[in-house]
């Protein structure tokens, strides 16, 4: 008989676990990510992982907290493809906040209230410090003119202007000065852009791309190409303004150097020897295409079909399985030939026999096609997807797809490989990013990086705003939190003293995050110093950003990361991705903080502590 077992967790092991998991991604956040190997001790196999999502995905986390973490990370990755490291790191940092509070005897209820207030302060900072994309393009267009003004308010002499100018003069005079919306120059293009605020109707993707690349310049270059290509192809379609990511695909090519990566119009797929021969004959003429959503084989049945189980057949003329298949093959081939189909795309698999037979009759069969290709082909050629090949009729066949030999890759692992490009032409076209690397293990990471960049651009356009990056937003939050904490501690009562303490701890978590992303050993002291300076000075967001920018430079020197070139580009982060990551991190901490026991419904290893049988 199964007995439920209850594990009582008095020492808040759950929070410690989240904190430990948060620690594992320390080197996987920020612009300079380190790769990690995850090795399976039993099989000896190893994977190379470069992002937080892949780390958690490849670790087999069987404990309850581990699964909660996995679930949260997966949900965030699905929506944003970036920011999972930030999520997990902060979940770890804030778990330590909760643990610290518990050690000090603050009640769970109160910790939750205070931490919620803390995150509300941070989200408010996000809202206030976000830079709209329109402003951003204005700022980026500014050249090295030094007549700085605050752009939002009417032009007025500002006390700090000389100060800032001085700082800028100290820097290389050639360097672009890109700050926030608070600083803009008065002369040059300013007048024109301000006079026509709606002039950049199509947001300039390339402008944002630089500041969103976060160390993945190559991947971002591909993402920008993809976005621009799509924009050019679908210029007249209003709905496509926002970088329609459903029209982007990737094709991973091993054994080519990384600088061969590129973006191609259409859909690039890899073909085998036989298929390659057929495609040579089909290239550069409009083709008739059939779309099959199921598998291309005789035994395929649609999902939900159970078949007849209890049948008994009379008579001895029962057809054997092989003759049945032949009959089916014959039928399909006749149908395809009579419809003059040149190309069959199937979302499922195609049996080798079908592929061979079709090849002999100069029909190209390509399997495992992405559903968005179907959508594109349907909208451009009028083809109607069917589940079974036998279902095809004249009306289902589309016309006008083209095939090009994109590249002959020679032989790879003793099989020759040919990459062909299936282009639909017309509207609703697709683009494919071809990701290449000589190192097989790195391909996944490179593909992930590409998608991260694509999603960053997509969400930036969708949000219409960005946040100051490179820890800038976090630093503003730290400042605001500490300010509030100080304010609370002055009022004196116990309750507000604890509140101040919690705010301070949350701020510590954020400082830890800034330290981790800048990888600077001294970043913490710099942050502290800045905050001190900050208190003395008049508090103006623009001034603060200036300090942040400076810290990046200093930090670059300290940590010796690319010491030859100080960052010339202002770094920005995605607004919604960051806000969601913070919220999700806190939700995770709350769920774990409030859990006090596990109920195990299955078999239990007796090695665990604190087990109680019911």
């Amino acid at each position: 008989m199964l007995e439920s077992v209850i594990i009582n967790r008095r020492r808040h092991v759950g929070l410690q676990k989240v904190s430990a998991l948060g620690g594992t991604v320390r080197s996987s956040i920020g612009p300079d990510k380190n790769y990690k190997f995850i090795q399976d001790e039993t099989s000896g196999e190893a994977v190379l992982v470069g992002s937080c999502f892949r780390i958690i995905d490849n670790l087999e986390l069987t404990c309850a907290v581990g699964q909660l973490v996995h679930e949260t990370i997966r949900a965030h990755h699905k929506e944003y493809r970036t920011g999972t490291g930030c999520l997990l790191f902060l979940a770890g940092a804030w778990s330590r906040v909760a643990l610290d509070c518990l050690h000090r005897g603050i009640s769970v209820k109160y910790i939750i209230t205070c931490m919620s207030e803390g995150i509300d302060i941070c989200l408010d900072v996000c809202k206030k410090s976000s830079v709209s994309i329109k402003d951003l393009s204005v700022i980026q267009k500014c050249t090295q003119d030094l007549g700085l003004q605050r752009s939002e308010k009417p032009i007025k002499p500002n006390q700090e202007t000389p100060n800032v100018r001085e700082k800028c003069l100290n820097m290389s005079a050639q360097r672009k000065l890109k700050l926030s919306r608070h600083f803009c120059e008065t002369k040059s293009e300013m007048s024109s852009t301000v006079l026509h605020p709606d002039a950049p109707d199509l947001p300039d993707v390339a402008v944002m791309a630089e500041s969103l690349s976060h160390g993945c310049e190559n991947a971002m270059r591909l993402a920008v190409q993809a976005a621009e290509m799509l924009l050019k192809m679908n210029r007249q379609r209003v709905s496509d303004r926002l970088f329609d990511i459903s029209k982007v695909m990737t094709c991973v090519l091993p054994a080519l150097p990384e600088d061969c990566s590129c973006v191609v119009e259409g859909c690039v797929v890899l073909l085998s020897d036989e298929q390659a021969a057929v495609s040579h004959g089909l290239k550069q003429r409009p083709l008739k295409v059939a779309l099959v959503t199921g598998d291309l084989s005789q035994t395929y049945r649609h999902p939900g079909f159970k078949g007849l189980s209890g049948t008994r057949v009379h008579g001895h003329l029962d057809l054997s399985a092989s003759s049945k298949e032949d009959e089916w093959l014959d039928k399909v081939l006749k149908l395809l030939l009579s419809l003059e189909v040149d190309l069959v795309l199937t979302a499922g698999l195609a049996s080798p026999k079908v592929i061979q037979l079709c090849c002999r009759h100069h029909i190209l069969v390509v399997e495992k096609i992405n559903p968005s290709v179907f959508t594109a082909v349907t909208s451009s050629t009028g083809a109607v997807p069917v589940s079974y090949a036998t279902q095809l009729t004249e009306h289902c066949v589309g016309h006008g797809v083209k095939i090009e030999i994109w590249r002959d890759l020679g032989s790879y692992e003793r099989k020759s490989l040919l990459a062909v490009n299936i282009s639909t032409g017309g509207e609703g076209g697709l683009v494919t990013a071809v990701v290449t690397s000589c190192i097989n293990g790195k391909l996944q990471a490179l593909e992930d990086q590409f998608w991260a960049c694509v999603y960053r651009l997509h969400h930036a356009l969708k949000d219409g705003a960005l946040l100051p990056g490179a820890g800038g937003t976090e630093l503003l939050c730290v400042h605001k939190l500490l300010e509030q904490a100080e304010h609370r501690s002055k009022t004196g009562s116990d309750a507000s003293f604890y509140r101040g303490l919690v705010f301070q701890l949350i701020a510590d978590g954020l400082i830890d995050y800034i330290t981790a992303i800048t990888k600077g050993t001294q970043a913490r002291t710099i942050v502290r110093k800045q905050l001190q300076d900050f208190h003395r000075d008049e508090i103006i967001a623009g001034k603060f950003l200036q300090l942040v920018l400076e810290s990046e430079r200093e930090d670059a020197v300290f940590s010796a990361v690319k010491p030859d070139k100080a960052p010339a580009v202002k770094v920005y982060d995605n607004l919604s991705s960051k806000q969601e990551a913070w919220r999700k991190a806190l939700d995770l901490v709350f769920l774990v903080l409030q859990s006090d026991a596990e109920i195990i419904t299955g078999v239990v290893q007796k090695t665990e502590e604190n087990l109680m049988q019911l």
Partner: protein, 564 residues
Amino acid sequence: MSRLVKKSPSVCTDLPLNTTELCSKLQLMKELLRSSYGPTGRLKQVHNNIGGSVVTSSASSVLLQAISSSQPIINLIKTSILGHIHRFSDCGLFAAVFCLSLIEEAKQGGLRENVVIRVNNHLLTLCTDYLQQEDCSCKVRLDFCSSQSLVTLARSVISSKPTCVLTEPELVHISRLAVQAFLLTVPCNIPETVRLGRTVTVPLEGHSVLESAVFPGLLLDMPENLGPVHLCSPLCMVLFSASLAGDLSELGDGRIEMHSGVDTDSQILDQLLQLGKQVLNDEVKLFVCQKVIHPVLQHYLRCNGLIVIERLGVSLMEPLIQLSGAQPVATLHTNIPSTAYGRVHKVSIKQFGSKKMVHLQPAGETAVCSMILCHRNETMLNELKLVCQKTEHVLRLTLREPCALLGGGCTETHLAAYIRHKSNNEISKSSSVLGCTQTEYRLAAEAFCRSLELVAMALEHDGGSSLIDLTHAHHWILPSDATEEQPECVMRFCSCGAVESCQNKKWSYLNTKYAELSPAPLQTASPLQPTVLDSFTAKMNAFRVAVETANLVLDVKYVIQDFN
């Protein structure tokens, strides 16, 4: 060669409640459920330890389903509480904690079981009689002219599950939606028999809770290849409950004999297409099937301009029948009678984030509505869905008896004070009727009252103390980190919010002996409205279930277990 396996004899345990094993397990169960009780309760992670999904919850329905024991008595308690939850949805943890406290208190009192059982029954009648009284002062009548008290009731239910992780504005939003959905399911034009409608919950992960919404009509998952939708209105629809996948699923395990060379698949497909032709002739525009539709039939219907929706799922069948008036067709072997067709007034497509849904609106008023529930992650969304369904049930119960009980433990402390007072006054009469000594009666009554108070105390999990005021006998919580000398400065209101603290108010700690009092009724002219309310019907039944189960457990003399 036959083999004889020796049967192990059955094991008989004498007076199971006296064994330390059972007592410690009962205590564990009580601790597990007690710690989950109320809005600040702790959560439990339920999983199978081999990588299965983890459910985080503090809901009695989840927790009780997860626990199973080698002790039949524990399973008995579990089943009886689950039975209550099944019928009333709410007050499961209350019933469980109360029941387990009654058993524990009775054991500690050391009284004869049959005396305890008789006194418990007597006091239960006392309680229920009092709660049924018109002038019972821990009961409030619900005013259906305003939504205020309904929202308060909904809010109390929703806020009792911290796994939902709701902020204040989110809590208000969801409470309002729950009431709105409930009101939409009550038909306006009442025929002879009132039939309540349905709320269909559609969970949507990854969005803010504030994006949750309620729509009249039904929202169905949109099929991928819907094709062009011509939204003419009103349109005729057909609904199949039989699978149209092309197999003979109604055959079950039966055997078919057939001649070779018969292609059953294509014959069934022909039959399906025949069906499609009829539907087309009858000018049906919306074709819905509970199960799978053969792709060829789907294709045929779509090409002829129909909206085809498959895999509706059994849970949506009943609401769709109510909405459209269609009769589900259970076979594909006969012509569809024209009476089976239903009507839908309007079909439109709604988009929520990346999810597209088909919105069906009824021709007349049918009291079916859909509730889109959004939350940031799966765990919290699952709990939110559970809680909203529970709220719907609780709100429906108010139609049976339009009243609610004061929440936050105030009803329990109030009842305890009332029973102490009442039983003391009638001690000589009651003890002679029940056939026990006055001391026994007093001890048993004390155990019953203490169990009630323990339930109220179970609401506090952060080290605070539970207090009772000596005028209205309401429940108050003094936070553990309160430093002020004057409790009236820290505690402004009682747990249910109906009583405000004032200068000359006197309190006593709940776990200490306090002067007996007859609880004063609330001032009727008081501007204070209770902020926490419990379902009257559910709590009344929970009282009965708890006492009856406890009595049964106390009455068990032997446990006989067969270990073969």
